[in-house]
Amino acid sequence: MQEVTLNPRIVEIRQNILKKNDVLARELRKGFQEAGVYVINLVSSPGAGKTTLLTEMLTRLGERYGVAALVGDLATENDAERLRLSGAQVRQITTGTVCHLDAEMVKRNLEGWDLEAIDFLFIENVGNLVCPASYDLGENQRVVLFSVTEGEDKPVKYPTIVNSADTAVITKIDLAEAVGFQRECFYEALNEVRPGIPIFEVSVRTGEGIEEWIAHLEAGKAAFEKAAGCL
């Protein structure tokens, strides 16, 4: 039977669509590891309190470590200006209309920084609980933040990002009572989409939970250094 001309030509490719980003993220991760930089990617909706918590972390960790931050926003330098008050090195990544950060933006914005002098690098993603989920930035820890005012079912509404996160932080916990925050429902929702996720409750205003949160980051860095030492 003559069917050669009818045979379509199919070739297997089997490559991740975001291969370029993933390759770059791997390179970044390797570079960070060699320089001893522990990287934390912060994701949340707009208004969850990323910048406020970040200012607090930069201030507290900055007393003992080299700290720096990259902060993503669609427009304005406002967040970087707020964060610089902590005394840390801060760079704003203005994305224009792009709704997430990618590895290339991180790489480009690290230029000129001495990574050896940085112990903790925070990347504050664009306020968005959808798009940042797909992009690896070379981070060691992805932290998803929710404030108590956002509703207990929010993790179930944005399951993909929660599922991709390593840790969850509940912010503005001092308002919990005032807004009728149902702690159990929230924990339940988080665990339905990302079973076993470590959860921290913090309030920058009252200082509640901040010590524990900072200790968690330090422990993460210590574990990372130990793992790097074994290589």
Binding site: P8, V11, C131, E192, G196
Partner: protein
């Protein structure tokens, strides 16, 4: 909507893959899209149609296979496909498990070219 960025990456990757494998006149792109990939299929299809204009892939079709979530249940010691991505529980014993084996894919799986003698080579992309 990050599907537009993803469509750009997809077209770029596919053009590169077509050149590398000597695939002429790409007719179809086969994708595997996990339900946990964070990509909305319809948005990606729409974005692809926009992005592909004026590239060597213009006119190519996108065929997307949805990949369900497969988890490993430490109690059953077995992998199971979840009927729904969430809640993340073993569908048999209902134990919670976060060990995702499949469902995060965002993969260009294959390219289908036209007939060997039907057309010219894939042109290099406009830069």
């Amino acid at each position: 909507m990050h599907e537009l960025s993803i469509a750009h990456s997809l077209v770029e990757l596919a053009i590169e893959a077509a050149e590398k494998t000597g695939t002429k006149r790409v007719k179809t792109l086969y994708l595997k899209l996990g339900v946990l990939s964070g990509v909305v299929k319809e948005a990606l299809e729409f974005s692809f149609d926009v992005v592909v204009q004026g590239t060597p892939l213009e006119g190519a079709r996108l065929v997307i296979e949805d990949i369900p979530v497969k988890v490993f249940c430490p109690d059953c010691k077995q992998a199971h496909i979840l009927p729904e991505p969430f809640p993340m529980r073993c569908p048999v014993c209902k134990r919670r498990t976060g060990q995702v084996l499949e469902g995060r894919e965002m993969e260009l799986y294959a390219l289908e070219g036209g007939e060997e003698d039907a057309g010219s080579d894939v042109k290099p992309p406009d830069r």
